[in-house]
């Protein structure tokens, strides 16, 4: 067809973009066809007001999981064509298969992979390149001069020699030709078509007849599809792309597109700037040498110009002095980049907003600007779903509801204050790329946060709880994996101990709600193992304050461990542990660790006392009295003995009331102190005994007063008279005949 120029491009190729722009300015076409869904034709006029990277989002209203994205960066040839068209007043149309059809058929990835067969790969391999990207960079992107579109068309014709498109691909190309014919028929004389290089041979040369194309396109399934622009990020551009040609280095391409000249020098100077910002000393001499190395490497590899591979190696060897962390910084900040696109006001609603509206309608839960307080009873399915929705929105940064203190008792109640603000809509649009439903987007967000390097252990444990509250089981595996990784690397055993109770809670909560929290049990168990391994070191050489802090954690872990089911966990059991059977349950292993710690002579008194008490209460010790007398004996400094007592008695004086032997020990120790020693320990004792409830103190006092004259009163019981009372008590606690 005369008057039709087919410009085969590399999607997201900066060189292609520049060449397209130049070619369009030279051709001055009166119509431009771009590869993309034709439903988006009406959205083209919004393009100048948008700030790339943005993406065309096609979705089926009511079926949010069916969606497709076509991302555009400033350096995408398609984007440049659209910009040229809108500024020159030339109509721009999309010519790919309508989203209405492509979304109607289930996307079959196997089919896709077979069809594309990586034409670039075969061309690059033929030219002796191991990496197709490099071949493109050398032959197309770095070609400063004549237009390469003929060369590409020729090469593609050779690659596609004998290839018979079928299935999805055949339909796409048939539709492209159909659109092209329609444009010609409308009387456009100079038409430019911008499409992936692969499709060039299908659109140029002798075309199949219109009837044949119509036959291919007949009877396609169809759904109602809607399109809009959504903001995109370079990070997302690097990970996936609707064109199937994902790129790993959007930041570098942006640079290649933006930099007017000397891209290598500018890039390395910029990299030096990034490193300087982080406080690394990088001089201009470094930059000079890195540029030289990049050029030397390119020459060694026989390339005309240094590419990303060479500048990265040069930055690694010279600027970063071999430091991988610094290389990673450049990779993150520059090669991928953190640019975020923006959309303008007139953009149609995104599916995320639509999904929220629908959910709100279904749950009879209207957004209102005025603050309103609601009580949710989680035992009711409707309220439970509302709670899930609010928790999910909070994960997305949409604080429509803020949670208040629940009135009344029970964990099944939540109180929320609701108020819808305009910025919540913006937040939804910003998060549109995360998913098309609130649940999917929140889950994605949770996994993103978990994957972030800045998250600390406490963040992740709270994230797990939030995921459970928001009922996002699909996000849990990744969050848990991140948590497990963080827990493994955390060298501070106290932060592990602080995190464990929440995890045990979450585990039980998951059980109660029936939420699947597989893996949580495994993590809890491995965290406990890590705590067991780290505790003996953590209790060494503690000051008073630190001991008190650690004690709190030990108590918390101890009560959390009590909540763990005692079913033996998998793995090789019963072999090496001292004392098989009970020792292999989490509780048994935990107590074994405490016991091992407790026997050490160098412990802080507070901790030793508390551990003795814990072990005594668990029935692990039969020599508590000996231990107490050892701790109280004259060999110990009085201050330590007092700390021991404080640790031992913390949690109430009832033990003293009911165990005359221990009381006698304490009493004997106290009365045996010299006046000076007594003054030393008095503040400590005051603190310990002051914490007891008044009746307990009185009971201890009475016990002591009576101890002298009539000890052994307890034994003096008339069993016959007591029998009736005992029988009553037994029947009350349900052991009547046992």
């Amino acid at each position: 067809m005369s008057g039709v120029s087919i410009l085969g491009v590399r999607h997201h190729g900066p060189g292609s973009a520049r060449a397209v722009r130049r070619e369009l300015e030279r051709l001055r076409p009166d119509a431009i066809l771009v590869e993309g869904p034709p439903e988006a034709d009406a959205l083209v006029r919004l393009a100048p007001a948008l700030e790339p990277p943005v993406a065309l989002l096609a979705h089926v209203p009511g079926a949010p999981s069916r969606a497709a994205f076509w991302p555009f960066a400033a350096f995408s040839p398609e984007w440049q064509a659209i910009l040229y068209g809108t500024s020159a007043g030339v109509p721009v149309r999309f010519c790919d298969l309508p989203a209405a059809h492509s979304l109607a058929t289930e996307r079959d990835d196997d089919d896709q992979a077979g069809v594309l067969a990586d034409p670039i790969g075969s061309l690059a391999a033929a030219a002796g390149y191991d990496d197709p990207e490099r071949w493109w960079e050398d032959v197309v992107e770095h070609r400063g001069g004549d237009t390469p579109f003929e060369v590409i068309a020729e090469a593609m014709a050779a690659v596609r020699e004998g290839h018979e498109p079928d299935g999805h691909e055949a339909r796409r190309e048939a539709y492209m030709r159909k659109t092209l014919r329609a444009a010609v028929k409308q009387g456009f004389g100079r038409i430019a078509v911008i499409c992936g290089a692969w499709h060039v041979p299908a659109l140029s040369g002798p075309l199949p007849s219109a009837t044949a194309d119509n036959a291919v396109l007949r009877g396609l399934p169809k759904v109602k599809a809607e399109l809009t622009w959504v903001p995109w990020t370079y990070g997302r551009l690097a990970s996936w792309s609707g064109y199937g040609a994902g790129i790993t280095s959007p930041g570098w391409y942006h640079h290649l597109f933006d930099a007017p000249d000397r891209p290598v020098e500018r890039w390395l100077a910029q990299a030096a700037g990034v490193l300087r910002e982080e406080g690394l000393a990088v001089s201009s001499a470094h930059v000079i040498e890195s540029v030289r190395l990049a050029q030397g490497l390119a020459a060694l590899r026989g390339r005309p110009l240094a590419g990303l591979g060479e500048v990265t190696e040069a930055a690694r060897a010279v600027l970063c002095e071999g430091d991988d962390l610094a290389v990673e910084l450049i990779q993150r900040r520059m090669v991928v980049g953190d640019r975020l696109g923006h959309v303008s006001d007139g953009t149609p609603m995104v599916p995320l907003q639509r999904d929220l509206r629908e959910t709100q309608r279904r749950l009879k839960f209207k957004p209102e600007a005025l603050d309103r307080e609601v009580d949710l009873d989680l035992r009711k399915p409707l309220d439970l779903e509302r709670s899930h929705l609010l928790h999910r929105l909070r994960l997305l940064g949409v604080d429509w509801g803020t949670q208040g203190q629940a009135r009344g008792k029970g964990t099944f109640r939540e109180t929320w204050t609701l108020g819808w603000r305009p910025e919540h809509d913006l937040a939804l649009i910003e998060h549109a790329a995360l998913g098309t439903t609130v649940a999917a987007a929140a889950a994605r967000r949770a996994t993103d946060v978990a994957a972030g390097s800045s998250a600390v252990l406490a963040d992740l444990t709270s994230l797990v709880e939030r995921c459970l509250l928001a009922d996002l089981p699909q996000a849990l595996p990744e969050v848990l994996a991140a948590l497990s990784a963080k827990a493994a690397l955390d060298t501070d055993v106290t932060s592990l101990m602080a995190a464990l109770p929440a995890m045990v809670r979450a585990h039980r909560y998951g059980d109660v709600r029936g939420t699947s929290a597989h893996g949580l049990a495994v993590i809890v168990r491995s965290m406990l193992e890590r705590i067991r391994a780290g505790l003996p070191v953590a209790v060494t050489g503690l000051a008073d304050e630190a001991a008190k802090g650690l004690l709190k954690h030990v108590d918390a872990v101890h009560s959390a461990v009590a909540l763990l089911s005692d079913t033996p966990a998998g793995g090789p059991e019963g072999g090496p542990e001292s004392g098989a059977g009970a020792a292999s349950s989490p509780r048994g292993r935990w107590l074994a660790t405490l016991r091992g710690v407790c026997d050490r002579p160098d412990l802080h008194g507070l901790i030793e006392g508390r551990l003795t008490r814990i072990l005594l209460d668990s029935g692990e010790l039969d020599d508590a009295a000996d231990r107490m007398s050892r701790a109280m004996s004259r060999g110990q400094a009085p201050a330590r003995a007092a700390a021991w007592v404080e640790g031992f008695l913390a949690g109430g004086g009832l033990l003293l009331v009911h165990d005359p032997r221990l009381l006698g020990l304490v009493d004997g120790w106290l009365t045996g102190l010299s006046g000076e020693q007594f003054t030393d320990v008095l503040p400590l004792l005051r603190r310990t005994f002051g914490a007891f409830a008044a009746p307990e103190r009185r009971a201890v006092g009475e016990r002591l007063r009576s101890a002298g004259d009539d000890d052994g009163t307890e034994q003096d019981v008339d069993e016959r008279r007591a029998a009736a009372a005992v029988a009553t008590v037994l029947s009350i606690i349900g052991r009547g005949d046992g």
Partner: protein, 354 residues
Amino acid sequence: MTVLRPHAEDQYAEELAVLAKDDDRPRPPGWKLSPWAVTTYILGDGERVTPKYVGARRIVEVAVATLATDRALLLLGVPGTAKTWLSEHLAAAISGDSTLLVQGTAGTAEEAVRYGWNYARLLAEGPSFEALTPSPIMRAMAEGRVARVEELTRMPSDVQDALITVLSEKTLPIPELNREVQAQRGFNVIATANDRDRGVNELSSALRRRFNTVVLPVPATAEEEVDIVARRVAQLGRSLELPETATGLAEIRRVVTVFRELRTGVTEDGRTKVKSPSGTLSTAEAISVLTSGIALAAHFGDGVVRPADVAAGIVGAVVQEPVSDRVVWREYLETVVRERSDWRDFYRACREVS
């Protein structure tokens, strides 16, 4: 007379000759081969040239490009990552001479980097160029060859800094004679240094800036490492004339797995993170653990290497720092080893020795 270990340029003289004959690419001044041929010499070409270094191509390319742009090269890495091996072969391929070597130790004096005096002549004739004993560096400069500095960070800092003038001005002043030695084209320096050792003398930033740094990594995949270890263990066993033992590949794989997991901080299946101990846990250490296991099995056991034979060696390699490493090891034992049902015997053996 046969030497125990010939120099690289002698041992591989044939390969170098073949490469030089076919090499029609431009050679930097003073080079025996083109950069491209040097790369081929190091990495092998699959038929006539054997690979000398097994690893990423880009590392060798950066190293060669560095030397070609007449910058000094610093090879960094934990012990046992073939730093010296690579530097020797680079020097052999570029200059045809790998003998211009300065070994860095705490006792290396400035004479080893600059020049010393032949005192008999100095006294007899007074200061003259003939009374000078040149260092390997000075000779490399005069002849336009590559000099090697081993363990650069072990040298005292003031000796290290003697290299600054050499590397930036490419000249070595001799103030006593009021003259200087200027480097001929082809001169360069390859230094190696260990980046994980304690008690080393950090390079001053002025010196550091004169080097391009290439970090040699530990083997990338478990298979690669198992292969290296298995081959090396067999070689060592032969040369130490240990009695024949059946070293199962399974035991080698287990030792390599433990080393890799602790070194990288993540289990082989990528699902569990573990802490890394303070030791380097290099491939070389894995080899020595297995060699001593073989010795134990051969002399005191039944000739088959069992978990108990390597357990003590592993614990010794992992627990270098008594307190923190022991925690790391116990955690690893309890959270990773214990979970593997087919490692039960190994778990028990480790429990016994730790």
